[in-house]
Symmetry: C2
Subunit: 148 residues, 2 copies
Amino acid sequence: MASHELDDTDHQLLRLLQADGRRTFSEMAPEVGLSVAAVKRRVDRMRESGVIKGFTVQVDHAKLGRGIEAFTELRFAGTTSVGDILASASRAPEVQAVFTIAGDLDALVHMRVRDIAHLQEVIDRLRGSGKVIGTRTLMVLGSWTRDD
Amino acid sequence: MASHELDDTDHQLLRLLQADGRRTFSEMAPEVGLSVAAVKRRVDRMRESGVIKGFTVQVDHAKLGRGIEAFTELRFAGTTSVGDILASASRAPEVQAVFTIAGDLDALVHMRVRDIAHLQEVIDRLRGSGKVIGTRTLMVLGSWTRDD
DNA sequence: CTTGAAAATATATTATC
DNA sequence: GATAATATATTTTCAAG
C-alpha cells in the first residue's frame, strides 16, 4: 500500500482544484511548473488511486428555496443496525448527510429545508420512520466552510 | 429579482454537474436535449446569478491521513459575538466547517484529524482560544452524503 | 518512473441568424 | 435556441532525462 503517496505538487494541484474544480490542466500547468501532460497524468493518477473521489458543483441552496439548515440528533431503538440507521435517515430528500456517532446519540443528520414548517415535516417523517426513539434539532444560524 | 428562476432543464444540469462537476457541455447537451451553446449559456447564467457558487474536487480525506472525523459542540462566554465565534473556531486547519447554532449551544464544529491524539490536541486548542467555556465532542463512526 | 513536446482529437467559445 | 467558425483544451504518442 501507500502506493498513492503525494508530493508537494500533488497537494498543490488538489488545492487548486478545491478552489476551482473546473480549472483546466493548461491553466494549472504553469502554476505548478510542469507541462500540461504531466499535470493531467498526476490528476489521472489521483483519480485512479481514489485520492480524488470526484468533482462537483457548489450550489447556493438559499437561492434554490432551501434557505434553512439544521442538524438533527437521532436516537434509535437498541436493535437498530448502522446500516438501517443510514438507510432510514437518508431516505428524506431534504437530508444532505448522515453521520453515525459514537456515544449516547446514534446519528447526526444534516438537512436543508424551505422553512420551519418544512423542517417540522421532515423531523416528523424521520420520527415516524420506525425505529427513531428521540430527536433533538439544532437550527443553523450561520456557517463557514473551508473553501471546498 | 427572481431573475434567477430555474426550469427543469436547469435543475437537470445541476444534477448532472453535482454527479460530475467536470462533465463537458458537449456531454450534457444531448442529455438535456439542447445544443452545446445553449447548455453553456444556462450554466453561465447560473454562475452569474450565484445559484452556482463554484466547482470543487471531492477528496478522500482518509487517504490523505485524516481518517478521523468529529463534531465538537462549543459553548462560548456570553459576551462573544457570532463573528468572534466563527473567527475563533475556523482558525484551526483541521476545522472543515463551523455552524453557529440557535439554542443552548453556540457552535457546531466539523473537523478531520489524523488520530485520537490529534483530536485531543485540536480540542485543547479550541478550548484554549479564549472564550470557549464548554465542549462536547461527537466522534463520527461512519457517514453518508448525498452525492455532492 | 516521470517528464516535455508535438500531433490528433475533442471541447469551449463567440458570432450570426 | 441552433448552427457554424474559431480558439482552447484534452489526450495520445513518442522520445528523452
